[in-house]
């Protein structure tokens, strides 16, 4: 008689993240663990070989041999991709988040691949139009977000041509809440019409601010995508869920001081390529991370905070 397999119960030693330690030290009761999530950051599912001639036992052989790193204590470096619970097991497609740069010129990135955020009035004036008098793609006005129409738009849905966009996205897969994370030293989130400043949920020990924006309550940011046609203005090819639209307001520190530009920034001559006269620009490269709270998918949006030297 063989022993029973007792591998189903596993003991793991957890380490506190830097934010966990910070909250513990604060002593205000904010350190309270109430839920868990599972991650698979190290896994490359491209290694799943479902055509392996040796049989199904060999499909995930490479994946199961993946070495796993020790825990990072930086809260931003762990749990980048989470596992998802969906009550249905017969799904073949899952929704993604995708930057919509095809809606019109106002949602495009700059030719450098970044969204540019002008942090003061002089830079806004400089980046407002190019040498042809046309609005520069991807240039957002950070001091007065209402100036100009450029904005950042993220669409959600099944990005596949195998399913018509005319079909309704399963309600299970519609993202209803977005988490936006950005460096609070550099900027903050505002609505695309500059009518609303988003509320920060918390700022972690690395100065990363987290915003939660929900369908229904944050209508300046999150709305359903109602276009179910094969429109060239849509980034999602299949059934669509919701969209997130926002702008960024530069921080007062960037607006009034060069300290952060000199400390964590650099200069960039490529931006001034189509602007006249050519000016030296100080830039700080960063990312704005958008995560679907329910569906778990996330994208990192590259941005550059720009200041005319």
């Amino acid at each position: 008689m063989a022993f029973l397999d007792n591998s189903g119960d596993i003991i793991l030693d957890a380490v506190l993240t830097d934010t966990g330690r910070m909250r513990l030290a604060r002593g205000d009761g904010s350190f309270k663990i109430v839920k868990f999530a599972l991650g698979d950051d190290e896994i490359n599912y491209e290694l799943y070989d479902k055509n392996n001639a040796s049989g199904s036992a060999y499909y995930d052989l490479s994946i199961m041999q993946t070495p796993v790193l020790e825990a990072f204590t930086d809260n931003a470096a762990s749990m980048k991709s989470k596992l998802i619970s969906i009550p249905r097991n017969n799904l073949l497609f899952l929704p993604v988040l995708k930057l919509n740069e095809v809606y019109d010129a106002s949602t495009k990135r700059h030719s450098t691949g970044y969204f540019l955020i002008a942090v003061d009035d002089a830079t806004e004036t400089y980046l407002e139009v190019n040498t042809s008098g046309v609005s520069i793609d991807g240039a957002l006005m950070g001091e007065t977000p209402g100036r100009g129409g450029n904005r950042i738009r993220v669409d959600q849905g099944l990005d596949t041509t195998q399913i018509s966009p005319g079909r309704t996205l399963d309600p299970l897969l519609v993202e209803t809440q977005y988490m936006v994370e950005m460096d609070n030293r550099l900027g903050s989130l505002v609505s695309h019409d500059d009518s609303n400043r988003a509320s920060i949920s918390f700022v972690d020990d690395d100065s990363i601010a987290t915003y939660y924006l929900s369908r229904g309550t944050d209508t300046q940011y999150v709305n359903d995508i109602t276009d179910s046609s094969n429109s060239a203005q849509q980034a999602i090819s299949g059934p669509r869920g919701t969209r997130l639209v926002f702008k960024v307001q530069s921080s007062l520190e960037l607006n009034t001081s060069d300290y952060l530009f000199d400390t964590i920034g650099t200069t960039d001559a490529t931006i001034a390529g189509n602007v006249s006269p050519n000016a030296t620009l100080k830039v700080i490269s960063s990312t704005i991370r958008v995560t679907g709270v329910n569906t778990g998918y996330r994208i990192d949006i590259p941005v550059k905070f720009v200041k005319k030297a």
Binding site: G8, D9, I10, I11, L12, D13, A14, L16, T17, T19, G20, R23, F31, K32, I33, V34, K35, F36, A37, L38, G39, D40, D41, I43, Y45, K50, D60, M64, T66, V68, E70, A71, T73, N75, M79, S81, K82, L83, I84, S85, I86, N89, N90, L91, L92, F93, L94, V96, D159, T161, Q162, P171, L172, T176, M179, T210, G238, G292, N294, G296
Partner: protein, 370 residues
């Protein structure tokens, strides 16, 4: 609705308390041998105690091991003959006594008292061990301090020919709790194996009979301080615990065969130097109290079967499935513990990916130590 989190229920948490022990062996060569002369010993301008390190203390690699000091009570028989640092030796005694023994009903500092016979310990050696090594407390019943007790002293190791150990053999079930500094036990003297060949070193001890071992000191477990009676170095005729045949020891070079009475004319620092040359070995087990919360992460058959990993999809289609009816599969490598506002507070990693699909359920026990 799809979700990436699962809330803990009230029965998903358990609290445990574990005592961890480490063996701390300290070889005498660090204290009194070659290493000691290379900068392991730190002295101070005030001269009230000496610190022993495991490495030259000016190095950032050095670890503090213990301190050494001596003192006597104002009621000691030797008090009238002390000519060197009299006040400092009394101050040390009183400071340690008020901390470890406390005050009587009149507010006066009590003397160190041997609980086995209520005799006062008026001339004592203090060995406070560093918190770095003792951690939360010294494990009861694990202490051994071994001294060279040969009568004569020479810097050739012959002082260690006859040795005695101080052990808290009854510590695990015979300790005392009337100290303001926590629990303490008695250090009993017993002859070392080498000394046994000479018939033992302690007066009245019958080798192998624990009840005949003399009480020579106290060990305060939580405070991590050993208080050793100076009688350890005196023979019975001179009021000590050593055999008369062995004789009162000469503590160090040029100290004379006066045993611990040598402190009357020696500074605390010189006495400490002599005492260090008599330390053969020290060992004890420390204790760390580990309070843990265990989170039972119960992953049901329908939980976490999909992934938001960017490689999980190819044009929104799940890579691990060919048709919709195929079983979804995901692989767990990390467990994240979150606050109500989705802030990652703790992380645990698996040693290898764990396959999850709708045919299995898993309980991951995640332990967070404080």
């Amino acid at each position: 609705m799809a979700t990436t989190f699962k809330n803990f229920l009230s029965n998903d948490l358990a609290n445990t308390r574990t005592l961890l022990h480490e063996a701390i062996p300290i070889t005498g060569s660090i204290v009194s041998g070659t290493y000691a002369s290379s900068g392991n010993i730190k002295t101070y301008g005030h001269g009230m105690f000496t610190s022993v390190y495991d490495y030259p203390y000016l190095s950032s690699s050095a670890n503090h091991i213990f301190d050494l000091s001596v003192g006597y009570a104002s009621t000691s028989a030797i008090s009238s003959s002390v000519t060197s640092q009299s006040d400092k030796k009394q101050n040390i005694y009183n400071q340690m006594a008020q901390y470890l023994v406390g005050y009587d009903q009149t507010g006066s500092i009590k003397k160190f008292t041997m609980p086995t016979d209520n005799s006062s310990m008026t001339d004592v050696i203090f060995v406070p061990f560093a918190r770095l090594l003792t951690k939360d407390e010294i494990k009861k019943g694990s202490v051994t301090l071994e001294f060279g007790l040969s009568a004569s002293f020479a810097e050739d190791g012959t002082a260690f020919d006859k040795r005695g150990q101080l052990i808290d053999y009854s510590g695990s079930n015979g300790y005392y709790v009337d100290s303001p500094a926590g629990e303490y036990g008695v250090l009993y003297g017993t002859s070392s194996t080498s000394a046994s060949a000479h018939g033992g070193v302690f007066d009245g001890e019958t080798l192998g009979d624990a009840t005949t071992m003399p009480a020579v000191g106290l060990i305060y477990y939580q405070a991590g301080i050993a208080v050793i009676s100076g009688s350890l170095f005196n023979d019975a005729t001179d009021g000590g615990v050593l055999k008369d045949g062995l004789g009162t020891t000469e503590l160090g070079t040029s100290f004379g065969a006066t045993g611990f009475n040598a402190i009357t004319a020696s500074t605390i620092e010189d006495t400490n130097t002599a005492l260090r040359t008599r330390i053969y070995n020290v060992s004890y087990n420390n204790t760390t109290e580990l309070n843990s919360t265990i989170y039972f992460c119960r992953v049901g058959h329908n939980d976490f079967n999909y992934s938001s990993n960017p490689t999980y999809l190819s044009q929104s289609q799940i890579r691990v499935k060919t048709r919709a009816s195929d079983t979804p599969v995901s692989y767990i490598t990390t467990v994240g513990l979150y606050s109500a506002d989705n802030e990652l507070l703790a992380v645990a990693k698996l040693s290898e990916p764990l396959k999850k699909d709708p045919t299995n359920e898993i309980t991951l026990r995640v332990r967070l130590d404080y």
